[in-house]
Amino acid sequence: MNPNVEDRKCGTLEPALSAFADDEVFGPERDAVVRHLAACEACRRTLDTYRRVGAALRERVSVHSGRDLSAIAWPPRRAAPALTRRRRLLYDVTRWFDPWPVLAGSAALVALVIGVLWLASGPEPSNRVDIERLDAAGPVMVIPGNGGRMTIIWLFDADDQPEPAATET
């Protein structure tokens, strides 16, 4: 591990912690944050605070978004003009064939079906391991197991020649 990463002052990483709590830090910066967190109890506490505050805010937003907005109409409703019987019938028929609510309902139904199918398809590549970063004191061999079921990281002494009898690649 690069010692500079662990030695970085907490203050230089703190702005990134908030973004990290929201899964908005990527690449090398994310790596640096993770490695600093692994070594710094104070920053782990700060991150935990950010996550708890974020969760509490999301919960409040969720609660307040449950208000009934059906009374809101734009543009403001005006009294409907008096209609003759024939015109009222025509109005009712055309209102029922207004395409937008039907299209919106159809789109929602399609989204629902896609969501259900997505859930029913289950967890696709099960038991997979993806190594993002690997540093070791000596040579290393990474051996993907059967169909990704189990990945093996083999560490060698710096003086050793790599020679585990593993045959899978």
Partner: protein
């Protein structure tokens, strides 16, 4: 119920069903410490689950030294002593795309034998092997479920 309300309800249901659960933050990790050697030909029955993978190595005997389950939360760091004065550090730091993000280090005194970050899918296992132990080597199997 008016039609717009029905449409809104359907849309909400679709979004709710489609959205992955993000609120989970508790994870279960299991660490198995195994001694692999060529002394004998026995495989510990407790290792039946990973026996097929162990078969790809050059050792004939596998003995389970220790199993340690951890129930933990994201952001909590755990240290576990390994045979030979080594230390295993586990730091589950995120859940992303249905995978657990984990930082693992193995140190031997001041020497860092391994320092890695990886994503582990549910019930996935990663096996770290190589450090010498007795007449064989040490294997450390790390599994996670969440």
């Amino acid at each position: 119920m008016t039609r717009p309300a029905v449409v809104a309800l359907l849309l909400l249901a679709a979004i709710t069903v489609s959205a992955p659960a993000r609120s989970q933050s508790s994870v279960s990790l299991t660490v198995q410490v195994i001694h692999a050697s060529n002394a004998g030909t026995s495989v510990d029955p407790a290792l039946a689950k990973i026996r097929a993978q162990l078969g790809s190595m050059k050792y004939s005997s596998y003995k389970l030294l220790e199993t340690r389950p951890f129930s933990t939360t994201l952001g909590a760091k755990h240290a576990m002593p390994l045979p030979g004065g080594r230390t295993l550090d586990l730091y589950p730091f995120g859940l992303s795309g249905g995978s657990l993000e984990l930082l693992v280090t193995i140190t031997d005194g001041s020497k860092r034998l391994l320092d890695t970050t990886f994503r582990l899918s549910n019930n996935g296992t990663i096996l770290v092997g190589g450090p010498a132990h007795g007449d064989g080597v040490l294997l450390v199997a790390i599994s996670g479920s969440f």
